[in-house]
Every structure is written in structure tokens, then in C-alpha cells.
């Protein structure tokens, strides 16, 4: 059974798809070093950093953009 015209009426339900399993490297944030620039939030392609800079490993694909864009070297990429 599919919906009429395959319309999806549950906005944002791709959250069911936990893309964290794609990851090889994992970002670890040292909150001590964080200067609240929010680069990790702004540039995350997978909305995996919240306002408190907690990383959501359910979705983080481990691209490393956050670590690369962190001006205070607060994020390290470590092997899963």
C-alpha cells in the first residue's frame, strides 16, 4: 500500500533514517575549548549539532566539516 500519488504527510520523517551508521570518523567536542562561534551548527549538513553544541551521533555522517571549521580546534575526529 502506498499513499495516493506517493504523497508524504509526515514532514521531516527522514529522521527515521539514522545516518550515523555511515560514519568512519567521529567528531568529539571539547566544550572547554568551545568559543560559541556556532560554525559547527551552521555548517553541519546533517543538522547534528544542537544549540548547546551537543553532537547527535544518530545522524552525524562523520564528514568532519565541524572539526575543519572550528576556529578553536575544539573538535577532534577520532576513528569509530
Amino acid at each position: 500500500m502506498v499513499s495516493i500519488g506517493c504523497v508524504i504527510k509526515t514532514p521531516g520523517n527522514s529522521k527515521n533514517n539514522k545516518t550515523g551508521s555511515w560514519r568512519t570518523f567521529k567528531p568529539i567536542l571539547d566544550k572547554e575549548k568551545c568559543i560559541d562561534c556556532d560554525n559547527c551548527i551552521i555548517f553541519c549538513p546533517d543538522s547534528s549539532v544542537n544549540k548547546q553544541h551537543d553532537i547527535d551521533y544518530d545522524y552525524c555522517k562523520g564528514c568532519g566539516i565541524c572539526a575543519n571549521e572550528c576556529p578553536s580546534d575544539a573538535i577532534k575526529m577520532v576513528k569509530e
Binding site: I8, P11, G12, S14, T19, C44, Y59, E69
Partner: protein, 288 residues
Amino acid sequence: MDIPDKDLLAPGHRGCAGCGASIAVKLALNTLGKNTVAISATGCLEVMTTPYPETSWEVPFIHVAFENSGAVASGVESALRIQGKDDVNVVAFGGDGGTVDIGLQSLSGAMERGHNMLYICYDNEAYMNTGIQRSGATPYGASTTTSPKGTASFGEDKPKKNMPMIMAAHGIPYVATASIAYPEDYVKKVKKAAETKGPAYIHLQQPCTTGWGFPSEKTIEMGRLAVETGSWILYEIDQGNFEITYRPEERRPVKDYLSTQKRFRHLNEEHIEKIQKYVDAECKELGL
């Protein structure tokens, strides 16, 4: 920059690790807010965000085909306005293929008719969805699967189509270029476009880790290099007034940008020199 509690493009989408398109769309939607209807051309964005029965879109979304997002947006906009929904933002996304090549006519018609909508071209400079074939937006010298380097070829042999100026020639009220590496500048332009009555067009450069051949963590860095070398110039044409919106303190040589990407790695000094000249001329023309 304002950080929302929830992004309007949900995670779980199938974009590559380090995907610039999702950053582009996320920032645009967060700026436009919930009172928005989004249209997308076929391409990476559509395929990665709507594999039935899952969608990443938190706002109403419609996709019809590759070449017609301008026309589909025209229909959506007309339907909303005739119902008195004048405050709903209408935003259409198309990749460079869906915008500068196959979708150009449809977009041109939509712009010329004056629909109150924003069109954002997320330009990753080739057909990435189908495996890196050249488009009209592929830059000079880039090797793609249909403009490959070879014994008799150095890659794409023509410069990029100047799409923002084609849009400006339509006389629409707002045209801008942007880069995902400059989110403040980009978001400001999205806001301005949304406030503009009538059609607005933003041509957004969006580096692609897979298609350009750089490590996934360098998506933003690559965008910055493009702008810092003058290979991509940030400007806006607001009601006909042209203005550069970001000036690099000192323009870096294009080699710094080209040498970090697989698609340009085959170029020799002569090619690079030619590209540098081309970039210099472009910068001079636009007053950078």
C-alpha cells in the same frame, strides 16, 4: 547568526557526508521560516530528501521534473496568491543542470512573468546526481565524465555560462551570487530576496566533495578558496544597483583553489595561467 531550535531540512537525508547542497537548503529554509513552500528540480537534492515514504522537508514541498521547476513554482505561486496567501514564501531550488541548462527556458519564463518567488540555483558545477557530467556551469579546465581530460583534451574547454547576468538581463528586482562558505552574506541575501516583491534569483556556489574531488571536511574551505581567489565573486544587483558584497583582503592566486581539487589536478601551468587571466579579467570587469 540566528540559530533555530529546529532546522527545516531534517536530518536522515541521503546526501553525501559533507554535502554542500544540504547546507545550502537548510540555511535558506531556516531564513525563510515555516511559512514557505519549496519546489525542487530533479537532482541530488530531490533524490536525497524524498525517498518515499520519508521526507526531509519540514515545509510543504513539491517536485515534478528536472527541467521545469521555474514553471512548477509559477503554478504554485499563482495558486497560493489566488487563494489570498500572499505572505507565503515560494522558493524553488535547482542544481546548475536544472537551472542553466535544461531548466533555463522554464526559469526564464517564470522570471519574466514576475511571479513573487525566489529561485536558488545551488551550483556545484556539473551533473552530480548522475555521476559528474559537465553542465553549462562547469568551469574551464574541469575534468568531468563528459568533458574528460585525455591525450587530446584538458577537460572542459569553455568557461562557465554567466547565469546570474542572464537573470539580471531579465530586469528582475533582485539578483545575487552567494557561497555556502559565507553564510552571513548568503542568509542576508535570502532575507532580502524574500522581502523583494517579484522574482528574485540567487546563484549559490556549492562545492561538492564527490564531484570536485576533495575530502568531505573541506566543503566550506573550498567555497572560501573560490571566493578568496576571485574564482567566485559575491555580489548583488538590487533593483538594478550592482554591489560587491564581499571583498577578499588580498586576492590569492587561483592555483591555491585549483590544486586542491581532483577535477583540476591535470592542468598544466599554461592552463592555470589562462584561468588566472580569465579570473583577473572577470574581477576587473566587476570591480573586485
